[in-house]
Amino acid sequence: MKSPQFDYVRPNSLAQALAILAERGDEAKVIAGGQSLIPTMNMRLAAPSILVDLNHVPELTGIELRGKWLRIGALTRHAEMARSPLIARHAPLLASAAPHIAHAAIRNRGTFGGSLATADPASEWPACCLTLGARIHLASCSGSRVVPAEEFFKGVYQTALEPHELITYVEVPAAAQDMRYGFDELVRRRGDYAIVGLAAQARVGARGALKLFRPNDQRLHEVRLGFFGVAETPVLARRAAAALEGRPLTSEAIQDAQAALAEDFQPLGDLYTSAEAKAHMARVLLGRVLTAMSGGHSA
């Protein structure tokens, strides 16, 4: 199927793009990678009367370390995320998630900001941003604002973005030495949308002066477990995380976290996988990711 007709504009600056959106935001769609938008248009599920092509807006590009935050331009392609030395060093969770996103040809076009704005419940970046406590920077003609990832995702394909706004860049905390990350997802075939996925982080051991007294402390803190593919938005499994807080990552702690997961969410079933199967898969995945984070091997 082919897309219906639309007008096409290609702004060369952020100011130009925002001015167009201020005037025609209600009937416009912005296109970045287009890897979700174009199929939607081809299937006639979206019919914007004007398409604003962001691919030539230089303010939306680039990856940069600024103090304790890594700043990622909204237009950064998935493939750039996968090969960026800055991402590998300062946001290893994102580096390990990138190869799981769709297929190579899609990763060459699809963008980080586009994935967040699309907010597909089974996509990787929203869950990673939730786990990392990312700050999502939005701009419109009337100014800019920052929305924490925890308040950005509102529902299936629903976000805090207003029609006249764009995501300009995202900040994630630069990884400290004592942070550990884990990422995995269960799929039928490499590159498919995840049936269940998990982006995890934890800090290991004491910080500051306490570290002098406990140099071999392996207890976990700041545990955050962002699941995707289980609900209308990515979700933090707070009970499971609480079960790990202040404990070393032993097999007993992992089992307790798995048991607590049932209290965190009852997954939504879909066309292919029942709610019960997803709940089981989420438990298995949690065990695998935590085992990998502990340095062990899981069956």
């Binding site: 082919k2 007709q5 007008d7 890897q35 174009i38 081809n42 398409l51 190579a104 076009r109």
Partner: protein, 162 residues
Amino acid sequence: MSDKTHELTLTVNGERVTRRVSPRLSLADFLREELHLTGTHVGCEQGVCGACTVRYNGEQIRACLMFAVQAEGAQIETIEGLTESGELAALQEAFYRNNALQCGFCTPGMLIAAADLLKHNPKPSREEIRAGLSGNYCRCTGYHAIVDAIAEACGSTEEEAE
């Protein structure tokens, strides 16, 4: 909304071309219908099947997931150009020897995806070949012969674990 067309200038297989296009025309349809380069196949038109895979500024993309008007100034390479340059010759020969095509619909996309895989990973394992081709559908061969062909072309001797 108007049915306004846009002037588009880009390089396809080393040749500079200029056409007027409607914004809704996909890059795949532009290549096929405007330039008569029909080796780029249109299957699903939603980025799933991989039959329309081409190179855009040196990297593989789905030509159904880009509007032609977006390719202003770009360098596009299709199966026709890549065949003529001889870049795919070893892969094509291996596909032929291994019966890695039957109807041939997926083959242009398969070859471009395979070449891209080998560019980034010159000696992939069979598992990596399968992962690298996971975005390209073949409804005839069952993939085994395609994996054989790519493994042969890159001299990967590893046997598949049964």
